[in-house]
């Protein structure tokens, strides 16, 4: 990931400002797509903060997202706690979980980490269902709030802006520099005195925090919460695809991937619901074989080529 400049921050601020008005000009169907897109923007930008520089592919998004959503559900439904309190608790729990997973796996090679995160959402779902069925008795949880789509949208927008700002600061900090060195060559990073494990663990913890925050905000949209719904392994894959499709080399790269893919995904889910897995597979293959650095990477390549052409 390249360091971010002040001009990028300025453009981002402008975009966030413009995005505030989207619910005022759209409603119904398009607003609901905007909510989904905003959710993926927050999730995949946060994903790319960790996986972009380190090249560790995290598939834990669905698990953290589920923790956030489920805790809001159980807190409001079983214990009559307020939404805002659960909104604060969920991300902290998920961040602690991410911290533990990070400590256990990130000291080792990247493969172990990928494998561990691969089944994480499913495993937590199994555990939660088991606890629910055997000790709590209730199966579904209800989340009733006065929020409508536009409120959820604005909350997600502020999370996305927060993630961006966080990433921008990280990118310009010593930690961001350290992560870039780790991504290029971990041995070198260790030799120049970087505590590689901690740098990775801190960033991974932040992705856990943000994913749970997004999951908690979306809980009122579901209104009925069941472990099978909120712990979705598919979500983790979608986030990976969108971030890589846009390109994880830039802070704003995932944004470029999210918007077209969200629309494509909505269309396939409605038109060809049985073929959605196939689309997912083709998207992965496309990224690896055609766009290994994402759309942004490809555009930068083209620009470099044109510039070289001018000099000759």
């Amino acid at each position: 990931m390249k360091p971010s400049s002040w001009s990028e921050l300025l453009i981002a601020t402008l975009l966030v400002f413009l995005a505030i008005f989207i619910p005022l000009i759209s409603n119904g169907y398009w607003l609901s797509i905007a909510v989904t897109a905003m959710m993926y923007i927050a999730l995949s930008t946060s994903w790319a903060l960790f996986s972009g520089p380190t090249h560790y592919i995290s598939l834990a998004t669905g698990a953290f997202y589920g923790v956030g959503g489920y805790l809001v559900g159980t807190g409001m439904s079983d214990y009559q706690l307020s939404f805002w309190l659960m909104l604060a608790i969920g991300p902290i729990v998920a961040a602690l979980l991410a911290l533990l997973i990070g400590i256990a796996t990130l000291r080792l090679s990247g493969v172990y980490f990928v494998i561990f995160t691969l089944g994480l959402a499913e495993m937590i779902r199994n555990l939660v269902s088991w606890v629910q069925n055997n000790f709590l008795g209730s199966r579904g949880l209800y989340v009733f709030t006065d929020f409508r789509d536009q409120h959820i949208y604005w909350m997600l927008l502020s999370v996305a802006a927060l993630v961006y700002l966080f990433g921008w600061i990280i990118n310009r900090s010593r930690l961001g520099f350290a992560l870039r060195i780790i991504g290029n060559d971990e041995t070198v990073a260790r030799h120049v005195g970087i505590n590689t494990a901690w740098a990775k663990v801190i960033l991974f913890t932040s992705t856990g925090f943000f994913a749970a925050l997004v999951g908690a905000i979306l809980a009122p949209r579901w209104s009925y919460i069941e472990p099978n719904i909120v712990f979705s392994p598919q979500l983790s894959f979608l986030v990976v695809i969108m971030a890589l499709l846009g390109g994880s080399g830039r802070l704003w790269g995932p944004l470029v991937g999210v918007i077209p893919f969200t629309i494509l995904w909505e269309l396939t889910s409605i038109q060809f619901p049985n073929q959605s897995t196939l689309v997912l597979g083709i998207a992965f293959l496309l990224i690896v074989y055609v766009l290994p650095k994402g759309i942004v990477g490809r555009l930068e390549q083209l620009r470099a080529k044109i510039q070289r052409g001018h000099h000759e």
């Binding site: 090249h55 493969v111 172990y112 089944g119 073929q275 597979g281 992965f284």
Partner: protein, 287 residues
């Protein structure tokens, strides 16, 4: 005793599938996350041939073997070899192969769902038999026997033939084997194809006693990966011990606590291995 017997019988096929993955990761250096889908494909073939044309799953194994061998060879040659050539480091290759095999696994799931969207349920050799006083089905026992025979043959081949030694040499160091005149790309392609074949056979066997569906592959990928890591990459003896541990622990949890917690049990084992013996049960600590 019941738990021990069914756990052991289960671990036979687990070990077989893990050996397949071990060949692909240890020798061809491809982290194949579509491994579980290849397994389910083998299971689907057994189910489909049995329900449509009454072909015995044991005969399907013979059919599946050459087809999956060729299929996996083609995948390696045309989809994965370009990635091997493109990547500068092992880390790059790992990321690329993980993403590419994810893609393949989803494509395979998509194709399989369109063939059979429901469960692959059929009855074959389900008559009860008794082993050490505990009752189990004949299909479990037969699958275990076949898995054990294939595993044994694989062991003999790897340890007592020239080509087997070449495969092991590549798994130790691809660079050094190239220097002593081993055709590394060819050996890797063969190992990948062989690994895929073994996995598909394992799938056809498993389908005789576990009901699968098109999207369950990832669970088997995870289990195979956990076994490979527990046993140590490239270590057949370790894989067998690890498969037995996983099979018995899973059966214990499923019988005594809840069948829904088998994955959590597998994760617990995985976590313990990562924390205390990341180099595998019998592996040596890297210097």
């Amino acid at each position: 005793m019941d738990i021990l017997v069914s756990g052991l019988l289960l671990s036979g096929t687990y070990a077989l599938v893990a050996m397949g993955l071990n060949l692909q990761y240890g020798v061809a250096r491809i982290m194949n996350l579509a491994n579980g889908e290849v397994l389910v494909l083998g299971a689907l073939a057994a189910f489909w041939l049995y329900t449509t044309s009454q072909i015995s799953p044991l005969f399907t194994v013979v059919l599946v073997a050459p087809i999956s061998f060729i299929g996996n060879w083609l995948i390696y040659r045309f989809l994965l070899l370009p990635l091997v050539r493109r990547s500068k480091t092992q880390g790059n290759l790992e990321v690329d192969s993980i993403l590419a095999t994810f893609g393949m696994s989803f494509v395979l799931i998509g194709v399989m769902v369109s063939i059979e969207g429901g469960f692959f349920a059929y009855k074959y050799l389900s008559s009860p038999i008794s082993i050490f006083g505990s009752t189990t089905s004949l299909s479990r026992f037969v699958s275990f026997l076949i898995a054990a025979i294939i595993g044994f043959l694989l062991y003999l081949w790897l340890n007592h033939t020239r080509s087997g030694v070449a495969v092991r040499a590549v798994s130790v160091s691809a660079e050094a084997s190239g220097l002593v005149g081993i055709n590394v790309p060819r050996v890797s392609a063969w190992a990948f194809a062989l690994g895929g074949m073994i996995t598909a056979i394992g799938g056809a066997l498993i389908s005789t006693f576990i009901t699968l569906d098109a999207s369950i592959g990832v669970v088997f990928t995870l289990k195979a990966l956990i076994i490979v890591i527990m046993g140590g990459v490239g270590d057949i003896r370790g894989a067998i011990v690890a498969a037995i541990i996983l099979g018995v622990v899973e059966t214990t949890v499923a019988t005594l606590i809840d069948p829904g917690l088998t994955l959590a049990a597998a994760y617990l084992i995985f976590l313990l291995i990562l924390l205390f013996r990341p180099q595998g049960l019998f592996g040596r600590r890297p210097l």
